[in-house]
């Protein structure tokens, strides 16, 4: 009896081990996507050989960015190894790796994560032929990172329920909107807006507005996309989202399926805040030239047009037109604010928590 049990055990274990070996062999030979270099060359230090592999930490989503990276490799011949994750977690990763990081470039979804990496002294200053392409409002004051594309906070509304959409954030406090506004309390862009509100109106002013907003019983949704769908379906009349959610839906389902429309806050209203995605080059990189080539590529006409037409974002290099049918940034005349000031998101969350808008 003991013998048979022992045999069963060893057989079981050897089957497991064999399976593990077979699987590792399988996966070792597999490369899941063409744009990524998945084998062991992902670390830097290969710059002596002819083939440079640029390691990009990307807080921006692979689905949106991978085609752009392919285009970059096509144009420049520089191979890229892209690591995707949440922007904030990527910043934490860079902070933990410090000077030993394998990353050459950090491509972030928002300015806050760039500011954190900059604050740790991990970025190297960008040359003026890069920075001068971007208006000062959309890059760091000391040229450590540049914005690459912008997104505007808007009110999305359902025209069958709303005649005149509110013209500024203070109109949102009107009791006639009670229970009719949708928002996404955990969304980073919403929290950036509240951070801007704190910067512009001070802690007290921001709290007064938020308390008024909370009194109007806004409806909380999981994500911006869900807010947009709720407005389109008439569940709520208004939604506070980024401008591009509407165009995503139109691209996916056709104009006929979408009744909702965007309304832009104008003349510097803080509700029309422009957020940027951006990029910085790590000071520890051994591939600085290739890294700068990549930054310039993101600011080139090709990449800027890609942002305008594929992700429906605002190009932020002069001379490239915004997505079809959208007002230009000059027309919008958005709030002028130093985006580096928007990194105090944790305090924003504490304030949102205090007025009861963050959690249940």
């Amino acid at each position: 009896m003991r013998n048979s049990k022992t045999m069963k055990l060893s057989r079981g274990l050897s089957t497991l081990a064999a399976a593990a070996i077979v699987l590792s062999a399988c996966a070792g030979s597999s490369s899941p996507s063409t744009s990524d270099v998945s084998s062991s060359q992902s670390t830097v230090g290969d710059n002596t050989s002819e083939e440079i592999i640029l390691t990009i930490y990307s807080g921006r989503n692979e689905k949106l960015i991978a085609p752009l990276l392919e285009k970059f490799t096509e144009q420049t011949g520089i191979q890229v190894a892209a690591r995707y994750g949440d922007s904030g977690e990527m910043a934490a990763l860079l902070l933990t790796e410090g000077g030993a990081s394998p990353a050459d470039v950090f491509f972030s979804q928002d300015a806050g994560a760039l500011g954190a990496v900059q604050g740790a002294g991990l970025f190297d200053v960008l040359p003026s032929d890069v920075t001068e392409l971007v208006t000062p409002a959309f890059r760091s004051a000391d040229d450590m990172w540049v914005g690459t594309s912008g997104r505007v906070r808007v009110v999305i509304y359902n025209p069958s329920l709303v005649d005149t959409p509110p013209s500024g954030i203070d109109d949102l406090l009107d009791p006639k909107w009670s229970g009719k506004i949708g928002f996404a309390p955990t969304n980073a862009s919403w929290q950036s807006f509240v951070t801007a509100l704190r910067v512009v109106r001070g802690e007290y002013g921001a709290q007064v507005w938020l308390e008024g907003f909370a009194k109007n019983k806004p409806v909380a949704y999981e994500k911006n996309g869900v807010v947009r769908d709720a407005v389109n379906a008439g569940e709520v009349s208004l939604g506070l989202v980024n401008h591009y959610y509407l165009y995503e839906k139109i691209a996916a389902e056709g104009q006929a399926a979408v009744v909702a429309r965007n309304h832009f806050f104008e003349n510097g209203d803080v509700g029309g805040l422009v957020n940027v995605s951006g990029v910085g080059v790590l000071a520890s990189t051994k591939n600085r030239d290739a890294a700068l080539t990549f930054v310039k590529f993101l600011l080139s006409g090709d990449a800027q047009t890609y942002f305008a037409t594929k992700t429906f974002e605002y190009p932020i290099v002069a001379g490239i037109s915004p997505p079809d049918g959208l007002p230009s940034l000059q027309q919008l005349n958005p709030l002028s604010i130093d985006l580096s000031n928007l990194k105090s998101i944790e305090q924003t969350q504490q304030l949102l928590e205090k007025v009861g808008l963050l959690t249940r």
Binding site: R2, K5, T6, K8, G12, L16, A19, A20, L23, S24, C26, A27, S31, P32, S33, D36, V37, S38, S42, T43, N61, K63, A81, A82, R83, Y84, G85, D86, S87, G88, E89, A91, A92, L93, L95, T96, E97, A100, S101, P102, G112, A113, G119, P185, A188, Q191, A220, E222, K223, G225, V226, A252, I345, E346, T348, Q349, E353, L358, T359, R360
Partner: protein, 510 residues
């Protein structure tokens, strides 16, 4: 009963190695927390908000654990003792909810019942994720209980219900408390469900410190508080387990167990079971299927799905093999050679199970970039990260299997002059085989659905089912999420089936 000798070095050394690996996060946490000085640590902790968060986390942990114990014991009874038909199938279905990532389940619940956001939503989702932690060891233990005792009690006029609570439950007490500990630690560590449900607990603030505050030091201080709570839970479990697990001396009646006839209408039992399966597995599966039917403007890339499956299984199998290899010496040392040292080793593998994935991931980055540069962002380091998180699942399974198995055979072997090491290999290990298999399967399931550690430690370009789900769900492309999510749930049946058969075979006694 135990063998009163010191643990042989050949057990002790790998057990110590397991404990050292499990304690990796501690180095990082202390380094980070200390980086701003002791006063900053005290200020960070000494806030009213910290207390509120501790209380909220405890409230959720205690309520989910209690509910998991109730649901888990019920399901264990159904599959092990009740005699309802199709029990093996039920066992697989019950176990399957362990394979569904909490963020996926939470999202399905919100789409269905948006008003559940908050405490109740988190409570429901986590209960269905966690009850298998209780059910699996308890079902195995119930199958191992000597039917003679129940029969004696019944022959003395006790009703079935009374027998269940006064005879059966006390005999599986160790399995219940072990399973509840795993469930409680999981609840403390979970971020997916509480984030989707917007229920503010410790992990929420720890993630916030990384993602919004860009403040790893603050995250470390808060993580240490979480570790403290986990330590208290882990130590109190020793008390709850009882001083020694009951194990019989004689061989008992060598005959097939006769299932208790279900006194309640079998229909009622079946109905309740179906509700549990429906809520735990049905809700997320229906939700995923509904995404599939959404007008998809993107063709499913089946090769991507295939590669994700292969990678997920590769990581899952490697993680479970390593975790089990480390858990076996830890478990044997703790159960068969109990001492302060072996207990400390065993307990230390549990504590960091309460940390959210991102903290473990960043700790492994911290150690990896300093000491293990050649394997940084390579598969072995990812496996180490996963093993740190899931080791306790394997340890708990090995331990409960050993506690259940009669030590008599081992004593006979020793009395016949077989050396301790040989006894372990020839006798102890085969006795623990069902536990080893169950632990391996449970580890594998958890490793396959794991996201934060995989995201940060994976070799660049590697995609698993979990990272693919993440990739598409962050841009709300649920039509593309669906095939990966479905593959995750369907393929989870494989390890679940291994686990189920191994806990069924537990019934055959030596």
């Amino acid at each position: 009963m135990t063998i009163r000798t010191r643990a042989p070095l050949i057990l002790l050394v790998p057990a110590l190695a397991a404990a050292i690996i499990a304690l990796v996060p501690l180095w990082y946490l202390i380094d980070q927390a200390a980086s701003r000085g002791l006063q900053a640590v005290v200020e960070e902790i000494w806030q009213r908000r910290t207390l509120t968060l501790v209380l909220r986390s405890l409230l959720l942990t205690i309520s989910v654990t209690s509910a998991s114990v109730i649901v888990g014991i019920f399901c264990a009874w159904v599959v092990a003792l009740s005699g309802v038909p199709l029990r093996s199938l039920l066992l697989v279905l019950f176990s399957l909810s362990l394979a569904i990532p909490s963020y996926l389940s939470a999202f399905a619940w919100i789409s269905w019942q948006p008003q559940l956001q908050g405490f109740w939503g988190a409570f429901i989702v986590l209960t269905f994720v966690c009850y298998p932690y209780v059910m699996l060891p308890v079902a195995a233990a119930m199958r191992g209980v000597d039917p003679a005792q129940q029969e004696v009690a019944r022959s003395l006029g006790r009703s079935n219900t009374v027998v269940f609570f006064t005879v059966t439950i006390p005999q599986v007490r160790s399995a219940i408390s072990g399973g509840s500990l795993l469930a409680a630690l999981y609840v403390l560590s979970d971020f997916g469900a509480v984030a989707a449900m917007r229920y503010d607990v410790f992990t929420w603030v720890i993630y916030g410190a990384y993602r919004a505050g860009f403040n790893p030091s603050r995250a470390a201080v808060l993580s240490l508080v979480l570790v403290g709570i986990a330590l208290v839970l882990t130590l109190s479990e020793v008390t709850a387990r009882g001083r020694r697990a009951p194990s019989k001396l004689g061989s008992g009646a060598m005959r097939a167990r006769r299932s208790a006839r279900v006194r309640f209408v079998p229909l009622t039992v079946g109905f309740v079971s179906l509700i549990i399966v429906g809520l735990g597995v049905g809700v997320p599966v229906v939700s995923v299927l509904s995404w599939l039917t959404r007008s998809s403007y993107r063709v499913v890339q089946w090769t991507d799905v295939f590669y994700s499956i292969v990678t997920s299984f590769q990581i899952g199998i490697l993680t479970s093999v390593v975790a089990v290899a480390l858990a076996v010496p830890v478990g044997i040392a703790a159960v068969r050679f109990p001492s302060r040292l072996t207990h400390t080793i065993e307990r230390s593998t549990y504590v960091f199970h309460a940390l959210p994935g991102i903290v473990v991931a960043i700790s492994v980055v911290f150690v990896g970039i300093r000491l293990l540069r050649p394997i940084y962002q390579e598969l072995p380091l990812l496996i180490i990260g996963q093993v740190i998180i899931f080791l306790p699942l394997a340890v708990a399974s090995v331990r409960s299997a050993l506690e259940q198995s009669s030590i008599g055979v081992e004593e006979v072997a020793r009395s016949l002059g077989v050396r301790p090491m040989k006894t372990i290999i020839r006798v102890t290990l085969p006795l623990a085989l069902p536990g080893i298999l169950a632990g391996g399967a449970m580890t594998m399931l958890s490793a396959i659905k794991e996201l934060p550690t995989t995201l940060l430690l994976r070799p660049t370009g590697t995609e698993t089912l979990a990272t693919s789900i993440w990739k598409y769900s962050t841009v709300s492309d649920y039509a593309s999420v669906a095939p990966f999510a479905l593959a995750l749930i369907v393929l989870a049946v494989v390890p679940v089936a291994v686990m189920s058969t191994s806990s069924i075979t537990r019934a055959r006694q030596l």
